[in-house]
Symmetry: D5
Subunit: 115 residues, 10 copies
């Protein structure tokens, strides 16, 4: 599903949006088993904001996709940056334990100068 | 309801006031369904402080208003800044999940130089 | 996937097994949207115990199935009772909120006399 | 809004349904101020189950109604019992503090013999 | 302050009311130091319910009174039973630590037969 | 230190007193090392109540005493029962871990018939 | 390691001992992978109590042993009952998740009549 | 009550003292109702430290005083700075909710250069 | 077991990976007793990422090894840095209490300039 | 008891050791009553590390010593710095409430330049 956006009505102010999606699931490409995690997206919008319903459907598209943890978080960041061109954005994926080990992946985008 | 203020009795000291309002509710303009959230206001007063009872009534006015998350937080910040002219202020809205997704909006005002 | 069992090595003792599966997901038959929940199974085995890997695969089979909350919990209970013939069993499904409302379904099986 | 029901597909088994609605709000008839609370409904269905979307809309109807805590919980219980004729049902309302005092009201219905 | 009541509108149903007052304070008659605690009142009303505002004022009257823990809880129970004649009632006082020791007092009233 | 008591002013009512002492320490008779734990005392007074300051001093007397967990809890129960003759009493000792293992000892006294 | 006991100094009183061992580890006989869990032992001693250091060493002996969850809890119960002949005993094993599924096994021993 | 101090025995080392007083109560000058809160004091002593018993009595003096939140925190800071002349100090007051709104006031003192 | 790696597919982006392994166990070289802890690894990958299954097997190799806390964390950091050459890495070991004392060791690696 | 040390095997790496001792007790010199607290020690070792068993015995030596909070934390820091000559060290004492007031003392040592 394509990510949709809507115009940011407060482009002159730097404000932050955090979105937490605890119902993310994909498929491990090595074992074919489902993976589960929580995706957290934090960003400062520039001209557009991410529309939440299209984001929900976009994340649901991973349900049948075989993809590694690291890959999924970086692809989600790339897709969101392409869609809404934020000033900066962080995507975090916290995945449930497998073999007694749990993982968290954090990827960042910065439009221009560091924070 | 208009926001009221009272004179800051300690204008020479930089001190912080944090106000937490866990009973905020508005109406989603797209679905017509009620939204619920917690509004947190942190500010450093300059000449005036926000009067708490008028703040309560001001926030209650959103009960029947159709407004998006991002919009409500930015409008609350604008109205509070106009009313009490703080040195700096942060308004945070933490909204309950819709479709498995919860949102937090954080908007900041800074009178002069950065923190 | 068929549920598998293995012989209970302590059939003369009444002991309890509790299994918690926080990664259950199915599809809502009305909206087509994925549902998420935690399935908890408590039982007193008689002659056989449920094999955990086959249980995991059995629960994964709901991933693409359109089924209501109440239905899924009752069907899981029926299937587990058929497979391992326990002395008694409880299946609980705790589902994540939809429209601000969360649900928990609890179904019980008792082989003979009440507890 | 009228409460709707659907046929219970497992009428021969006594099983429990718990529904938690943390977004209940009504108006205090004495002060005109909004009240906020969490409504929890636990019941054992007989022939019919409560349809969740109609329940959500039914509870939203209290948004503009002036009603006391005790009254609202007893009326919700009466309306739910009339609509779905459960074997037994408990309705609990946990209300946020007013004047430093918080309240919880618990009302029960039992079709025939005590639990 | 006198405790006030209002008529119970659902006298035919046995339902419970729990009231939590975390802001109780009295004075220790031995040391003259203030004591602090949380008073929890649970009761099943018969003909009348306790009016919450008068309860708040009634409890505030202990602010300057020298009274022991055990005494205050038993007196509160006696006064509430006299005022609203409940079917049954429990009053619990959980007091903050003094000399490394914290106390909880629980007193019960039962109109007729035990629970 | 001797345990002191004071007259129970409400001997006609069965009410409970719970006292939590998180600062208990004694010495292990085998290793000579200090032990630490929380002592919880719950009782229904008959004619007398335990005076809290004398209880504090009584428990401090264990500070230099070599005594096993099981012994200390049973001795505390015996001493308290001798001192205040309660209707019933429970003493619980929750001790901090030693060698990765933590212990809790629970001893009960019942004046006449079981609870 | 053999389980050791010491004489119960309070054989006339029914009191309970709870021991929590969060550092239990064994080996899964099917996969050869280590399992981890918390063992909780609750018992009412009769003539003898379990000596804690020998219990620690006894449980450490499972470190290199291939044994299933259900088996280990039942064997621990059998060994403890043989060693100290309690009036009643419960052994619970709460094991960490494998494949997203966690298990708890509860086995009980009763010397004569049920609780 | 006057605040007392004692000489700092380690004036050459910059170290911090944090004192938490969860039993603060004053009277709202507008409503005459009691307010409740937790006062937290953090400071780096210079020549003198605040004596804890006199601090307790000093804070108890607010029990019957009509004073606003913001005022009380700033006055406590002023009084403590006058009494012990710290290198720096922070006073925080976290007050319980009134009308669904809770407040926290944070005031700072810095003897010379910023932290 | 050797640590394995796989190519980092996003070498141009600085992103973080955190891995939590709560099932670490080794043997104390002084007492011969088992130690237990949680190992947390945070790193920014450069050309390669650590393969999780080989990491699990690598950490399991400590099960029979006599090694001190400080040593194990530093050796794990060295081995991981050798295997995957990260831009920076932190290894934390949080160990369970021994003799009432718990320990946490934190070791850091930085490829070039400080954070 | 003297504090013992052992050589740091990784002197070229700056790494941190945190030790938590929740079983600290001393005697208040003013009242003669026992005080209880948790001591937390964080340090970056240089040539030597603190040996944990000697640290445990060293802290046990305070059991019968009359000493104020502030004094004990500063003396512990001095003794530890003398014994192991760390690059930097922080000692924190969190003490249980007395008269409704709890205290935390934090003292720091820095060998050369600030952090």
């Amino acid at each position: 599903m394509p990510l949709e956006t809507f115009p940011n009505q407060f482009p002159d102010r730097e404000y932050e949006i955090e979105i937490v999606c605890p119902e993310f699931t994909a498929v491990c490409p090595k074992t074919g088993q489902p993976d589960f995690g929580t995706i957290t997206i934090q960003y400062v919008p520039d001209r557009t904001c991410v529309e939440l319903k299209s984001l929900k459907l976009y994340l649901q598209d991973y349900r049948d996709r075989g993809i590694y943890y690291e890959h999924s978080i970086n692809v989600i960041l790339d897709d969101l940056v392409s869609a809404c061109r934020p000033r900066r954005m962080v995507v975090v994926g916290q995945f449930t334990p497998r073999g007694g080990i749990s993982s968290r992946i954090t990827a960042r985008f910065q439009a221009e100068s560091p924070l």
